[in-house]
């Protein structure tokens, strides 16, 4: 200790020496090039010394510096500027606002930041401005196409609905693949605990409060988060107050959302003819078939051709799809003085979906406070509160039978069925036997009368103390709580199909999650001998996460007006569950920078978790990384062509502890368990459900990354190229047991998956001519995913592939099959070979390539691609002319092969009582000699001695798409004009999202997630939105 003190004293003395030479007092004012306003809080530093100050509330500063010194002015969000003082005593500076400057600092976790030039890992940064003022319920949705290596997929078009982010591919088979989200140091629990609605645990955050988002991608960047970092880490930093005059910002936007597309389906006459044909093809006489079809749609069987021609067609898609409305109101205040700074904001956001009775409302309140108690001690406090009320789709992927889901059923309902009776009441309520056909419910009635709702109240708060022990050494204790309570409701009205026979059903959910985190870190930074920059981070952490859930299910209400549980007469079920995990960790990071040229970083984290078997409770996750700033070498210094060149390399391990499906979301995977609920005849019962496994341990990822950051032509063209190899091992697999053992599986750490990829990010200033500027950013990510080991002893399938396969249920509830040597989420099925031109029967290829009507599983199964994309990315162009900015973002995703389960129903061609897609209908086989891929319609969809004509690859489609994700035209009103209303800044804009989509996908929307294994059936599609907004700063 004494040595360090002595050393630091000696060092400061060394730096102070030249100062003693010729001091002059310099003062001045710093303004913004945007609007000429003064900038408080700008750091002013004498180059080559530690001496510095900041500008006061009016942007003024005063500093003493040696003559011929150079002053460095830097401020977040602005380009740093270096000015020679010369003999001047007044130096006024205008700082250029530059979004790219934001890129210069990398947020590394645990309060750390590092200059991007010195950063040795792989990360991508997205500025807060990019994700704010968009009609999205949560910021993650707006990250799509913005960062290389980051794939963002909306689960559906439900406002505030689930989003999936995959950083550098999928590196787990059965466990979760979601990144860790850290907001202002708080590690969030992002498990979606809402039973009835599609919800997003990140929706509590108003995107406008975000300053920046850093996505840590490789082990070097992420391993400080150890066992939670394998899927990447998303660090969100929210806005902080700035000293100076209190700024008040007012923000409003409004917009509409329309369905991306409607499906073209048959009219009544076509449907009757097609269904009749299907029945005839199924063996009925034409008279019997016609009579059966007419009686199905409850028409007299005696109708003449002319009568049939006169039947009306009803458009059910028109009835359930509608125009959604978005409104967003925000008020923010920020300011403070040199001791205390604050940022306070409130917002209210409402969005209705493009489908009936689905909406999202959110109010947020956000405060952050920074206070300097004394020169050594400061506190940081954050408190984010939000209340969300969201209504979900009836029968959607989360809740209810999808038969009643508007998105699913509206194109499938027989077109002759009216929506309303002539008197305006709903047609076909269950009291009148429902509507004809398999889809027995009036989907408009069920959507309007039933309630699917979740009220989510969340608060995320933290308090940190920064104690500056000596220059360069800070100790920071930190506590946080992420508290979320969900009240879910699912009311089945007694007048609707689901409620009719039980006279109404009320299901309530109450889920409470308490996620407590505390850590203490020590951070030491020191520059030795002007060349050796050393940084040291040491920390300890404890986290406890408790989840308790209560769910009730009660039926029989007196009348539909009684909507709460006490009114119902017959309790059906009550469920209560408890889950808890705890983690304890120590971690450290050593950084070393030699002469701003060579950087080295070592990270290690020891993590313990209650989730794992007693033999493997602790895991160690180290990483090593280095960077070489080639342009700092003499041979490149001052080079006109190459302005920046940095080579990075890293290797490290991270862990994954998101255990899920294998353990029914339970946190006790290592124990042998007997579970309750196996009751009989009113008496409690139990059954063994899990075999003990004391060897259960972490899933481990080893990531190797080599990257090149470059800037050419005075940084007119900048970018990064990264190649990586992510080897995920010890993956938890359900080790299948013979059922005769009484258990189906035991979990063992046996699988491996490899992701190899290439990421390219390019930023360019294409044109700079006076007030006109054209900038582009482009990113693309190629990923190759492969299952490299399952477990030994799996008997190969009896087919020519001898495929080694393993069925599992993934973290998200989807039943999948992993195939050794193939990518995850593989499509393994039989090959549909089109239609026999002579008979119209569907044909398949057997294992030898010969035509067969009855393919045999698994003999004839083959690999047909994967649901993972081959490459994805975004391309953004920004055109600026004075205050006018046009921003155009394209996003693309190529190579996904998905079953189109929605289209599969529509492709039945009236094999059952469903309507059919016109594009399929037009291609159907009609007479001998027709060469087509669509078989003849047949009742039941199965030809005699055949299999379903919808099987195999028939409905496997290419879900690639290119999308005009976002187009924005904004105008920054000149300060001179905005001043008239007293505003220092004013910005108006119009914007559209998902305006154009180019795809071969045949149902609504190629962007969806397969939640619960129903594919895209019943998924509310994303919408096209148009909006206009205004931001004012006073």
């Amino acid at each position: 200790m004494r040595k360090i003190l002595f050393g630091s004293w000696l060092l400061s003395l060394l730096f102070c020496l030249p100062v003693l030479a010729q001091e002059i007092a310099v003062s001045g004012r710093v303004t913004s090039s945007d609007d000429g306003s003064t900038l408080p809080g700008v750091s002013v530093q004498v180059k080559g010394t530690t001496r510095g100050t900041t500008t006061d509330a009016d942007g003024n500063y005063r500093i003493s510096a040696p003559a011929n010194a150079r002053l460095v002015f830097s401020f977040i969000g602005f380009l740093s500027q270096e000015v020679a003082v010369g003999n001047r005593s007044t130096v006024n500076v205008r700082l250029d606002n530059n979004a790219q400057e934001l890129n210069e600092v990398v947020v590394t976790g645990y309060g750390g930041t590092v200059n991007r030039r010195e950063f040795t890992g792989a990360s991508s940064k997205v500025a807060g401005a990019t994700v704010s003022n968009l009609p999205v319920g949560s910021f993650d949705k707006a990250l799509a196409g913005r960062a290389a290596g980051v794939q963002v997929t909306s689960a559906n078009g439900v406002p505030g609905g689930a989003i999936q982010i995959r950083v550098r591919g999928v590196g787990s088979i059965s466990a979760g693949s979601d990144p860790l989200y850290v907001v202002d140091g708080v590690q969030l629990n992002t498990t979606n605990n809402s039973t009835f609605t599609s919800s997003n645990p990140l929706a509590f955050l108003n995107p406008s409060d975000i300053e920046s988002i850093e996505i840590l991608k490789d082990a070097a960047a992420a391993s400080i988060y150890g066992s939670q970092a394998a899927n990447g880490v998303v660090l969100v930093t929210t806005k902080r107050g700035k000293a100076g005059k209190t700024q008040i910002s007012v923000n409003y936007f409004t917009g509409v959302a329309d369905p991306i597309k409607k499906l073209d389906v048959l009219n009544t006459q076509e449907w009757i003819a097609l269904r009749t044909q299907a029945r005839i093809n199924g063996g009925q006489t034409s008279e019997a078939a016609r009579a059966a079809v007419l009686s199905t749609i409850r028409q007299p069987t005696t109708l003449s051709d002319a009568d049939i021609a006169a039947l009306p067609t009803y458009d059910w898609q028109d009835a359930v799809y509608k125009r959604g409305i978005t409104n967003n109101y925000e008020l923010g205040l920020n300011g403070g003085n040199d001791k205390t700074r604050f940022y306070v904001s409130g917002s209210y956001y409402t969005q209705s979906a493009n489908i009936v009775n689905v909406d999202f409302k959110r109010g947020t309140l956000n405060t952050t406070l920074t206070h300097q108690i004394n020169p050594k001690l400061s506190i940081d406090q954050t408190l984010k509160m939000s209340t969300i009320s969201a209504r979900g789709q009836f029968g959607g992927p989360n809740g209810g039978s999808f038969l009643g889901a508007g998105a699913f059923a509206s194109p499938l309902i027989i077109p002759s069925i009216p929506i309303y009776n002539p008197d305006g009441s709903y047609f076909g309520p269950p009291s009148q036997g429902g509507i004809p056909g398999i889809l027995n419910q009036n989907i408009l009635q069920v959507s309007e009368l039933n309630t699917i709702r979740a009220d989510i109240n969340q608060f995320v708060g933290s308090l940190a103390l920064n104690y500056k022990v000596i220059d360069g050494l800070t100790i920071r204790p930190f506590v946080s709580l992420d508290y979320r309570i969900i009240r879910g409701r699912n009311f089945s009205d007694p007048r609707t199909a689901d409620g009719f026979n039980v006279r109404g059903r009320i299901q309530d959910q109450l889920n409470e999650n308490k996620n407590f985190l505390t850590n203490i870190t020590a951070n030491y930074n020191k520059l030795f001998a002007g060349k050796h920059d050393v940084g040291l981070l040491l920390g300890a952490e404890y986290r406890s996460d408790v989840n308790e859930n209560l769910a009730t299910n009660i039926t029989n209400v007196p009348t539909p007006d009684f909507k709460y549980a006490s009114a119902a007469a017959l309790p059906q079920n009550i469920f209560g569950t408890f889950n808890n995990f705890r983690k304890a960790s120590i971690f450290g990071n050593i950084k070393y920078d030699f002469n701003k040229k060579y950087n080295l970083s070592l990270i290690g984290r020891l993590d313990g978790s209650s989730r794992f078997g007693s033999n493997y409770r602790y895991g160690f996750f180290p990483s090593i990384s280095g960077a070489w700033l080639v342009t700092e070498e003499d041979f490149l210094k001052g080079n006109n062509l190459v302005s920046d060149l940095k080579l990075r390399a890293s290797f490290g391990t991270t862990g994954n502890d998101q255990l899920g499906s294998l353990f029914n979301q339970s946190n006790f995977p290592g124990l042998g368990l007997v579970s309750a609920g196996f009751d009989y005849n009113g008496a409690a019962g139990f059954a063994p459900t899990q075999l003990a496994n004391p060897d259960l341990r972490w899933e481990t990822n080893e990531t190797t990354n080599i990257g090149l950051d470059f800037g050419f032509f005075q940084n007119r063209l900048t970018g990064s190229v990264d190649v990586f190899r992510r080897v995920s091992r010890d993956l938890l697999l359900p080790f299948n047991l013979p059922f005769t053992s009484g258990y189906s599986t035991i979990s063992r750490n046996v699988g491996s998956v490899e992701n190899k990829g290439l990421e390219i990010e390019l930023n360019s200033v294409n044109l700079k001519a006076g007030p006109f500027q054209w900038r582009s950013t482009f990113n693309i990510t190629f990923i190759e995913n492969k299952v490299t080991s399952l477990y030994p002893g799996i008997v190969p399938l009896a087919n020519p592939d001898s495929a080694i396969t393993l069925a599992y249920t993934d973290f998200y509830g989807v039943g999948r099959t992993a195939i050794l040597g193939r990518p995850l989420q593989a499509q393994y099925t039989t090959d549909y070979a089109g239609v026999n031109p002579a008979t119209g029967r569907p044909m398949f290829r057997d294992f030898a390539g010969n035509i067969t009507y009855t393919p045999i599983t698994p003999r004839d199964q083959k690999y047909f691609g994967t649901e993972l994309p081959k490459f994805y990315g975004g391309f953004n162009n920004t055109f600026t002319y004075g205050g006018l900015t046009l921003d155009v973002l394209f996003q693309y995703d190529y190579g996904r092969r998905s079953f189109n389960s929605q289209t599969s129903f529509l492709a039945e061609l009236a094999g059952r009582d469903f309507n059919a897609l016109r594009s399929v209908y037009d291609r159907r086989w009609q007479q001998p000699g027709d060469i087509t891929d669509v078989p003849r319609p047949i009742n039941g969809n199965i030809e005699t001695r055949g299999v379903s004509g919808l099987g195999g690859t028939r409905t496997l489609e290419d879900a690639s798409y290119l999308r005009l994700k976002q187009i924005t035209l904004a105008y920054d009103v000149p300060a001179a004009v905005s001043k008239r209303i007293g505003a220092s800044k004013a910005r108006v804009y119009i914007q559209s999202a998902n305006l154009l989509t180019f795809t071969n996908w045949t149902s609504y929307d190629p962007e969806f997630l397969n939640f619960g294994g129903n594919g895209n059936t019943g998924v509310v599609p994303n919408s096209k939105t148009y909006q206009a907004g205004i931001n004012l700063t006073f």
Binding site: G434, F668, G672, D679, N681, G682, F686, P688, L737, I746
Partner: protein, 499 residues
């Protein structure tokens, strides 16, 4: 002062690190929604709960919740699939691999073996629970566990293996794996091959005899309720098993014992009414379903068999009505008529025209109609006393005891409103017994197994087409495929022929 602060802050950091690393119990969290399996079966209450766990397993869709009844009907010649939800279409068409689960969906095999393991665990644990001093209760628990194990092994045998005496030697791959000790930890897992058919029957016999003995010594304990395993149920099951085993004397003996039991045949006057009551008075073993156990609108027996919500009310549509009687079956029910042309057989009243709510109306089976007061909630009669008469009749017919066989046949016939038959002998007698068995247990899951155990072809036609879809007895589809999982995890198990 400054140094003190340093020490203080370093101390804080050190304390933090030490706390995290030193206190290993910091990470100990006990489950509260489940319990450790090692201690679960060490008390009398635990044994009761474990036993309930087996009955609960039997309630699964893959066992008596649906498949043991509806799939067996779909495969056989009584029923046609209506394609209203598409369920059971493949089974009704006898598509290879769609039989009690599919090749990949483990279905009945899995549920049955899980339940067998639960029974094994109870039988293993029972001697060790010394705190259980009530011998009646102890015997009842043993009797129930043995009865359930016998029922499950017999169900597995009739689905996956040839029945004794009618094996097709070149196709037969034996019985099913036989496990009689429970698995509670990894080390106890075994990988047995399929036992010979005779060995499995030996085990079933031993369990049934043990069960009958135990129940005989469990006076006053709950082993007498039809909702649980009981003496009479074990006796009827034994007569059934013996019939399958062509061991006709044993079948006659146990059927006779059972007929002497407390549950009696319903008379003509209350027979149909018995099917409308929550609990069928004929049941010697009936699975009770309580409100939370409703299987629901997709797979419950009510929704599988009928669109109706109530008898005689065609205005309200409930379920799908996926599997309905075919014309041949209805014709058999209506074969004997009175002079006014009305069907004499009162069992015809258990079938009526469904609704048009989900397409065309069909005559549907109404044996399951939400009798517990809630739609899709029905108890499932697993064994009815009528079976004892038909088992005995058939066994006697096979033994040549024509008079006794005819007497039992006429008990069933007259109870059903049909005139007594006289003078029947030989094949004619046997055929009428089998015909009555088909009509008596329509849609209760007997037909497929009855044809199979006698080596008979399944003659059926697909509705709406003219192409027959018969399943000759020598067709490989007579046996269900063993789930692929079993083959890949246990190399000793051989798949059935043809799959």
């Amino acid at each position: 002062m400054r140094t003190i602060k340093h020490i203080w802050s370093l101390g804080l950091l050190t304390t933090g690190i030490l706390t995290v690393t030193a206190c290993s119990n910091l990470l100990d969290v006990d489950p509260r929604s489940n319990v450790d399996s090692q201690s679960a079966l060490t008390t009398a209450e635990g044994l009761d709960a474990g036993l309930n766990g087996i009955y609960d397993r039997l309630q699964n869709t893959a066992l008596y919740g649906r498949d043991m009844l509806a799939v067996a009907e779909a495969l056989a010649d009584n029923a046609q699939a209506t394609n209203k939800s598409g369920r059971l279409n493949n089974e009704n068409r006898n598509i290879a691999g769609s039989s009690f689960g599919t090749t990949f969906a483990p279905g009945t095999w899995q549920s049955a073996y899980f339940a067998i393991n639960q029974a094994n665990l109870i039988l293993d644990a029972l001697p060790g629970v010394t705190a259980l001093t009530d011998t009646n209760r102890r015997n009842s628990i043993r009797g129930q566990a043995q009865f359930l194990r016998a029922l499950l092994y017999h169900d597995l045998m009739r689905i996956y293996a040839y029945d004794p005496g009618v094996e097709i030697a070149q196709n037969s791959r034996g019985g099913v794996p036989l496990l009689t000790t429970g698995v509670l930890n990894q080390g106890q897992i075994t990988f047995p091959a399929r036992a010979p058919i005779a060995d499995v029957y030996t085990q079933i016999y031993s369990d049934l005899q043990g069960s009958i003995n135990s129940f005989g010594r469990s006076a006053g304990s709950n082993g007498t309720l039809p909702t649980n395993g009981n003496l009479q149920a074990a006796q009827v099951l034994f007569s059934r098993v013996a019939l399958y085993n062509k061991d006709y004397a044993t079948a006659v003996k146990n059927a006779t014992d059972a007929i002497a039991g407390t549950v009696k045949l319903s008379p003509n006057a209350s027979y149909v009414g018995g099917w409308r009551a929550p609990r069928n008075p004929e049941s010697v073993f009936e699975l009770a379903y309580t409100t939370p156990e409703n299987i629901g609108v997709n797979n419950a027996l009510q929704t599988t068999y009928t669109t109706l919500v109530r008898v005689g009310d065609r205005t309200a549509t409930g379920g799908f009505g996926d599997l309905v009687p075919n014309n041949a079956f209805i014709a058999e029910l209506e074969a004997e008529k009175n002079t006014a042309g009305q069907a004499l057989d009162i069992r015809r009243q258990l079938y009526e025209l469904g609704t048009t709510g989900r397409g065309n109306a069909f005559i549907e089976c109404t044996k399951f109609l939400g009798k517990n007061g809630i739609i899709n909630l029905d108890n499932v009669p697993v064994i009815r006393i009528s079976e004892a008469y038909l088992n005995r009749a058939e066994a006697n017919a096979m033994l040549g005891n024509t008079a006794n066989a005819l007497a039992d046949l006429n008990v069933i016939r007259t109870r059903s409103g049909l005139p007594e038959r006289t003078g029947l002998t030989g094949d004619a007698l046997l055929n009428e017994i089998l015909r009555q068995r088909r009509l008596e247990f329509g849609f209760e899951g007997h037909r497929w197994f009855d044809l199979k155990r006698r080596g008979q072809d399944v003659i059926k036609t697909i509705p709406l087409t003219t192409t027959p879809n018969n399943v000759p007895y020598n067709d490989f589809r007579i046996l269900a495929p063993i789930p692929v999982n079993e083959l890949s995890t246990n190399k000793s198990v051989r798949q059935n022929f043809g799959y």
